[in-house]
């Protein structure tokens, strides 16, 4: 019975059933499953599978987006329960599109995919000034800072943001990851970021890898 309830959550997210997903979570809660199990074995498992299907070319951006939206709908029901039972997030992320750049669709997809992997994500939106990243890091003490840019003309704002974190003495406290059309691994190294991901699915893998590095360092 409980397995079926969990499968229903998994399927709703996998299939991108946006209107149906919240009810599957409610049914799972009503059926006695705890919030953490629903998150881990239902939703995170489904988004992991979505990422795999995207990587191997069975899912496309459209399907990934739809699953991510279904996950968002499901999280509306689950989030209060997670807070109530004090479930630990996989990690905490501050994310935003850098100063001068209004493009946020890629960033929004990364946000949803990170939430789908169990991260607590603080989304600062688009056109975010370096000082706002600094303020957010001081306020929420994230593990990761994720920067997005679409334009070759705005990618220098990534450098400015990394520099602002350094100046504020916060750089060592966080891992910085970047993504977006004009940037690559080389650019990440060049500006002193900790990693680059080429798409939303890879961004989750990168976040997980950076969390491990962080854990090892503090161990």
């Amino acid at each position: 019975m409980q397995e079926e309830l969990l499968d229903a959550v998994f399927d709703a997210v996998m299939d991108g059933d946006i209107p149906g997903a919240p009810a599957t979570v409610q049914a799972a809660l009503d059926g006695g499953l705890d919030a953490e199990t629903i998150l881990r074995d239902g939703m995170i498992a489904a988004m992991t599978r979505v990422g795999e299907l995207y990587e191997c070319g069975d899912y496309y951006v459209a399907e990934m987006f739809t699953s991510a939206k279904a996950l968002q709908a499901a999280l509306v029901v689950l989030r209060p329960m997670l807070q109530q039972s004090q479930v630990q997030a996989t990690g905490t992320v501050v994310i935003g599109t850098v100063k001068g750049d209004m493009h946020d669709i890629g960033k929004n997809l990364v946000t949803m995919m990170l939430e789908g992997a169990g991260y607590a994500v603080h989304d600062l939106g688009a056109d975010v000034h370096p000082s706002r990243f600094v303020a957010a890091v001081e306020e929420v003490h994230p593990d990761l800072v994720a920067l997005s840019a679409l334009l070759t003309t705005t990618m220098p704002s990534m450098q400015a943001t990394v520099d602002a974190l350094t100046t504020a003495g916060l750089r060592e406290r966080v891992k910085v990851m970047i993504g977006g059309a004009p940037v690559n691994e080389e650019y990440a190294e060049h500006i002193g970021a900790d990693g680059y991901a080429q798409d939303a699915s890879q961004a989750v893998a990168l976040a997980n890898a950076l969390m491990q590095v962080k854990a090892q360092r503090s161990a």
């Binding site: 991108g16 459209a62 739809t66 001068g100 209004m102 070759t152 003309t153 705005t154 059309a181 798409d199």
Partner: protein, 412 residues
């Protein structure tokens, strides 16, 4: 061979006497105003006007002297409009570059440094934030859902900045004698130039969905609400076919290439599965290309950014003869692979120089190497028109532009 014969030979998969070259025949194969300004100063021609004919992307129309100097083989029919000095006015861009805008385009500077554009009813349709070099769409008419009726679609479409602030000749589409003018001016251009002629019609389908609903919503719609999507596409098709009918009647026997647009790819792959493309878009693309083939002598050209490798077999079946911009750094889009698999069926119009990493940030030598490699992969047997991968953006140094042409000249 003259320029036109060179382009037509390439499209017909015959090897021309030298590779044909396009800079500026479409708003996705041109040069940005800032790059144009920098180039003209670098080569000692500060007297060339920098006329921003595509105001959304801030793209300059190359003048006749520039076409001659760089041996450009194809031009846009749109250049036959806005041909009087009084059609333009001087303005300085936020970065300090002096250019000319068409007189109808009057953005409003905002306190935060952005330039906003309002339509005649005061609706904010576009904005260029401080530091940006093109205008973003700000109005998404169907963002909250699909309408019950599409009767007023023709009035709604100009709320999208791509349509409301469109490039020539379409900035004159409201003129009473526009279609007669289009034919007369196209014929005059044909008589005065031996270059191939392009007419840019757009007729985008997937992209119009993203313009009206916004990309994130429309991506979900194509998965979850295909019936609503098809209703919208049918309403769009009605408008597009009306346009094509008039275009074919006016210039179908004058223009050489009819340029459609529909960005179907991301860096990592198509937005949608081939199955979804086949279900929703392919049959409609086929109707559009069939119409052009049956009612004109024009060749069919599709502009689609991104990795579209997985869709190419279907795009060929949908009737497209030419693809652009051939985004070579996207996944699966390596020139050698594309040529081997699709070179018999398609003309690659682009892919000549990478604009994201090399042309803008590489050394002149790296640019030349990139250009040579791409030409050698794509040009054998024809089926190739040289063009950069999309527009030459403001960050391209003139030295690299010149290096690109030095390498091109080795092949013509």
């Amino acid at each position: 061979m003259n320029a036109r014969e060179r382009v037509l030979a390439a499209i017909n998969h015959q090897e021309p006497d030298g590779i044909p070259v396009d800079i500026g025949s479409t708003p996705s194969s041109g040069i940005s105003a800032i790059a144009h300004y920098n180039l003209k100063h670098y080569i000692g021609r500060p007297d060339w006007p920098t006329q921003v004919y595509d105001v959304v992307q801030q793209i300059a129309q190359p003048g006749d002297e520039m076409l001659d100097r760089f041996g450009i083989d194809v031009i846009d029919i749109g250049r036959a409009f806005d041909d009087r000095p009084e059609d333009w006015y001087d303005i300085t861009l936020p970065d300090g570059t002096p250019v000319q805008f068409p007189t109808w385009f009057k953005p409003s500077p905002q306190p935060d440094g952005a330039w906003d554009v309002f339509n005649e009813n005061g609706v904010r349709v576009a904005t260029m934030p401080l530091g940006a070099t093109f205008f973003d769409q700000t109005c998404f008419p169907f963002i909250d859902g699909y309408p019950d009726s599409y009767a007023d679609l023709p009035q709604i479409m100009p709320l999208i900045h791509w349509a409301g602030l469109t490039h020539s000749p379409w900035d004159h589409a409201g003129d009473a004698d526009f279609w007669e003018q289009l034919r007369a001016r196209a014929l005059a251009l044909r008589a005065s130039s031996d270059r191939a002629l392009m007419i840019v019609v757009g007729c985008n389908l997937f992209e119009w969905g993203t313009f009206l609903r916004r990309l994130d919503n429309f991506l979900v719609d194509i998965v979850t609400e295909p019936a609503q999507v098809e209703r919208l596409l049918d309403a769009l098709m009605e408008q597009h076919l009306k346009t094509l009918e008039k275009v074919c009647a006016a210039v179908g026997d004058v223009a050489d290439v009819c340029r459609f647009g529909d960005d179907l790819g991301t860096d990592q792959g198509p937005f949608m599965s081939p199955k979804t493309y086949r279900q929703l878009f392919k049959p409609r693309h086929k109707i559009l290309t069939d119409y052009v083939k049956q009612n004109s002598t024009m060749h069919t050209f599709l502009h689609s950014c991104g990795s579209i490798y997985k869709l190419l077999p279907d795009l060929i079946e949908a009737g497209f003869e030419i693809v652009n911009p051939v985004q070579t750094i996207a996944r699966d889009m390596e020139p050698v692979r594309l040529k081997a698999e699709f070179g018999r069926d398609l003309t690659f119009w682009g892919g000549g120089a990478d604009t994201r990493f090399t042309l803008n940030r590489g050394t002149p030598e790296a640019v030349k190497d990139d250009v040579r490699r791409n030409i050698e992969a794509l040009s054998p047997g024809g089926g190739f028109v040289f063009n950069t991968v999309h527009n030459i953006l403001p960050d391209v140094p003139p030295e690299n532009f010149m290096a690109m042409f030095e390498a091109i000249d080795e092949y013509r």
